[in-house]
Subunit: 207 residues, 2 copies
């Protein structure tokens, strides 16, 4: 591959992004953080555990946060991929929206219950607005926009409100069950809460 | 006052609740926590700072949290009182709801910006579901229910959805701008966010 066609490395990452070693470090770090937690691990601990020198790890990532961001991007990418796949199964716009919301809640709750350490990284990313979290929000917004436009086309949803305002407001009201910074405080309502919020949102979309 | 007519002390509080010393301890603790923070202060520090013995403070409160709860009840009570007063100024149900939501957001944001230490106690109360926080939610629910019923009576709002479901869902979607555990993460959207959420809620209430 000529230098001109190599993808640009993302912020905080050093060297060509496609480098296999990079993926290897991220995978090893993910397993390490899963057991020992993100906060308590230094780059030195991590390098030692995965059998590289600290200097070598720094060739690929400028900081621990850069590694955390790469892991977080993977984690959040899995949630948005699940949401996309579920929305695709819906026939009507209403069904698509219900599936979209439920898939995000289920995947996020699954992470919280089964991968607490990875959830905690996502929660830090949310609170500190790391780039992968902002990218995740952009992805959800685009997916939601597709559903809303589909429902406007089919005549299921109202068309008076500017579509971007509709999408911003809906994403906003989903936050308590979607945001990794909030979900853990709404767990007691995780069965009926999302269903009632979905119904409220659908009532707001009636033409 | 005969013992039979004395009010029962709230959980975690010792001695008759009307005792003037109790109010004095709460006020002194509020001022102390405001400067030094809740986490870093022990009951011993507090007693010393306000000129009482530790044993004397324990006569009135069984723990630091009991004092924290009393302060939190005051703080949250001020917010719900502001919401009640604002809602009362509205002519229509729509106007009442807009004022209600805006008053809560403004009072909560004011606490966050100007009384950060007291906000932090409210945030702990929210995360740990202290009784004053649960009582605050009950109060907001009752206030909201009054507004919704007013709007159903006047014909402004739909009547098909069970009223308690409507109120639960609305209170839920307000959370990102209302909950002391969430507000600090939605501050970047505090100008347009609540307005767009209010509009979504009002669209959901159309008959």
């Amino acid at each position: 591959m000529s230098p001109a066609s190599a993808p640009l490395p993302a912020a905080g990452q050093r060297g060509p992004a496609e480098h296999a070693i990079r993926a290897q470090i991220v995978e090893a770090a993910r397993l390490h953080f899963r057991h020992y937690g993100y906060d308590k691990t230094t780059v030195a601990d991590l390098a030692k555990a995965i059998g590289f020198s600290k200097a070598y790890v720094y060739k690929f990532f400028e900081s621990k946060q850069a590694i955390g961001e790469a892991i977080c991007a993977q984690t959040l990418g899995q949630i948005s991929a699940a949401a996309e796949a579920e929305a695709g199964k819906g026939r009507t716009a209403e069904d698509k929206y219900r599936r979209f919301f439920r898939a995000i809640v289920d995947a996020s709750a699954d992470l919280l219950f089964n991968e607490r350490r990875l959830y905690d990284i996502a929660a830090v990313a949310t609170r500190e607005r790391w780039p992968p979290y902002l990218a995740y929000l952009d992805t959800l917004f685009a997916q939601l926009r597709t559903i809303i436009l589909f429902g406007r086309e089919s005549g299921e949803f109202e068309r008076k409100t500017p579509v971007d305002e509709t999408c911003r407001a809906i994403l906003q009201v989903m936050q308590p069950f979607v945001s990794p910074a909030m979900l853990e405080y709404t767990l007691d309502q995780i069965h009926d809460g999302p269903t009632e919020v979905v119904s409220l949102v659908l009532r707001s979309l009636v033409p």
